[in-house]
């Protein structure tokens, strides 16, 4: 599922209007999956493909609710660290960010690159395709205790 982050120069005026003091800004449109960045980068639960999609959905909810930064994983493997979601800067465990965990979506926003890290200020979700990465078909559930065994 590697792919494209389509960077669109949506006009110099928009870029200038968002320009901050420390980094240049670029208008972008990114297509990808909302992920839990800690499990993805750290390998704490296993390799990256196992900590995306349905297999890892419950853990992604826990991590987002726990205030771990959420990212948008583009299809080319680039991770965009999300700093704002449709105008709301409450991305640390915020309701809106929790709602879209593991969803595949198309987001328009402002990209800041600093020290090799891509930071995305999402202005608008153009399309939300929902959870389409059926990774449980390959990995069951990660971590295994995410789904508690039914009480007998």
């Amino acid at each position: 599922m590697r792919m494209m982050a389509r960077r669109t120069l949506a006009g110099g005026l928009a870029a200038l209007a968002l320009a901050g003091p420390a980094t240049a800004v670029e208008r972008v449109q990114v297509t990808g999956e909302m992920i839990d960045t800690w499990c993805y980068f750290s390998g704490v639960m296993g390799f990256p493909e196992s900590v995306t999609g349905s297999a890892h959905h419950t853990c992604a909810l826990w991590c987002a609710a726990g205030g771990i930064p959420v990212g948008l994983l583009a299809d080319d493997g680039t991770v965009y660290m999300v700093l704002k979601w449709e105008g709301d800067a409450a991305v640390t465990g915020g309701d809106a960010i929790l709602e879209v965990q593991s969803d595949r979506l198309v987001a328009d926003g402002a990209l800041h690159v600093r020290d090799g890290v891509n930071y995305l200020i999402v202005d608008r979700v153009v399309e939300n395709l929902g959870l389409v990465n059926r990774s449980h078909e390959d990995f069951d559930v990660v971590p295994p205790f995410a789904i508690p065994e039914p009480q007998k």
Partner: protein, 190 residues
């Protein structure tokens, strides 16, 4: 399917290695990908403020993501995790030091070709003038204060968090709907 699940859990992590900021670190190894112990001085910053100039007085009061502006090289280091092993971020540990220069100890983590940077696993923090480091473990107490009813229930926070419970009740543990969830659980616990 089961074989892949097992492989995922036991994927060999990179061994901890010494890095540029490892001197004096007492960080515990979690055997994470690209792990390097790292102790350094940094200013606690609101990442959005640092990048855009949109700067509330209190670093966002816990709603925004915070980071470390490292003194040695001016790099913004994303902080993804605190010292607790319960799916907790580090904003509650950093927020009391908003705008201040602190000393931190933990691990730099990550080794991803598509994302050539490291993130930080904060384990200890020492504020200006403090003699001792404090463990970066504030999250669960902060959650309990925000969720007193849920915190009084048996079990870890992530089983009792009302918002997580509501989403799982609506979409299932897989996020694919309750019908698909039921079929998968029947397979999983057969």
């Amino acid at each position: 399917m089961r074989a892949l699940a097992i492989l995922a859990l036991f994927a060999a992590p990179a061994l901890a290695q010494e890095g540029r900021f490892s001197a004096g670190s007492e960080a515990q190894s979690w055997s994470l990908t690209g792990e390097e112990p790292a102790r350094f001085e940094a200013r606690v910053v609101d990442t959005l403020c640092e990048l855009t100039g949109d700067c509330p007085a209190d670093c966002g009061g816990g709603a925004r993501q915070l980071a470390l502006l490292r003194a040695a090289d001016g790099a913004i280091v994303p902080v993804l995790k605190n010292a607790q092993a319960l799916f907790n971020g580090a904003v509650d540990d950093l927020l009391p030091y908003c705008g201040e220069t602190v000393e931190v100890d933990g691990n730099l983590v990550g080794d991803d070709a598509a994302n050539p940077f490291k993130v930080y696993h904060l384990q200890r923090i020492r504020g200006p003038g403090d003699a001792e480091f404090l463990p970066a473990n504030r999250w669960t107490d902060a959650w309990a204060a925000r969720n007193p009813e849920a915190a009084g229930e048996e079990g870890p926070w992530f089983r009792n968090d009302r918002r997580v419970q509501a989403l799982i009740a609506r979409d299932g543990h897989l996020g694919l709907g309750l019908e698909e969830d039921a079929a998968f659980k029947a397979y999983l616990f057969e």
